[in-house]
Symmetry: C2
Subunit: 154 residues, 2 copies
């Protein structure tokens, strides 16, 4: 399929400098919009929402390390081998992360968030206000390994 | 900021052929992975999850129509003017949509989903298993206009 070009709308400032697996809940950072393309109007009204969905790039993952098939999450032998699209590992095609985080403050072109699992310098492709209606509309079922993996994540 | 290249992992087959605002809940379609890059192993174990988060491109939006500032959602005068990052309108920078949908079936390189608000032919950039732990970890607050807009969406 034909490649597409995307242009980051901004990037992550502050927060962690290295990707660490767990304990992201209290990490705060600021997403700063590209001031050559955006003004504060682009964020107008965002502070009416408590949460924001952040679409970002795991930019430190080398494209050669991206998995296309199956692997054990975190190479943990207690967990089953599952396809790259059955896990949220960062070494994935297109290296895109999507995370719902708490909105702390909007100030000019900066959006301070809490609980974003992206490191400093990560390109941000989009910000969306979190609406409960975009969550699952039917009961959620997920395998036990995924609950175990997520146990210490936040 | 420097542009990035992304390569669709597959595309949407079936479902709606035209973007219609509302009533997406019962629309079924199939996401088919690019068979030149992926095998069924990439989807192994996905059927252990009830829901999948789909990252796709609103490819029919002309780049010249993308909003960078503020507008009224759906141009509805009952709703306030808000920034493009305070709404989920499709005419947005990078034209990326993220939607949680029900997983109906996984078959070879095909993933049948229900409630994906993407039309036939939409490029898909990523599929992630939906984990409850990735939902909001604190109570959600959102403005009344967003509830009104979402009223007939599903």
């Amino acid at each position: 399929m034909d490649p597409l070009t995307v242009t980051p709308i901004g990037s992550v400032h502050g927060g962690r400098r290295e990707p660490i697996d767990d304990d992201w809940a209290d990490v705060e950072c600021q997403i700063r919009l590209d001031d050559t393309r955006f003004g504060p109007a682009a964020l107008g009204g965002l502070d009416g929402f408590s949460h924001v969905d952040v679409i970002f790039v795991f930019h430190r993952v080398d494209e050669d390390d991206v998995h296309l098939g199956a692997r054990r999450p975190r190479d943990n032998r207690d967990w089953p081998q599952v396809g790259i699209f059955a896990q949220r590992a960062k070494a994935r095609p297109n290296r895109i992360g999507v995370t719902t985080c708490e909105l702390v403050a909007v100030d000019g072109l900066g959006v301070t968030v809490r609980g974003l699992d992206a490191i400093e310098g990560s390109p941000v492709l989009d910000l969306k206000p979190h609406m409960t209606e975009f969550g699952p509309r039917t009961p959620v079922r997920q395998p036990a390994w995924s609950n175990a993996l997520m146990h210490g994540y936040w």
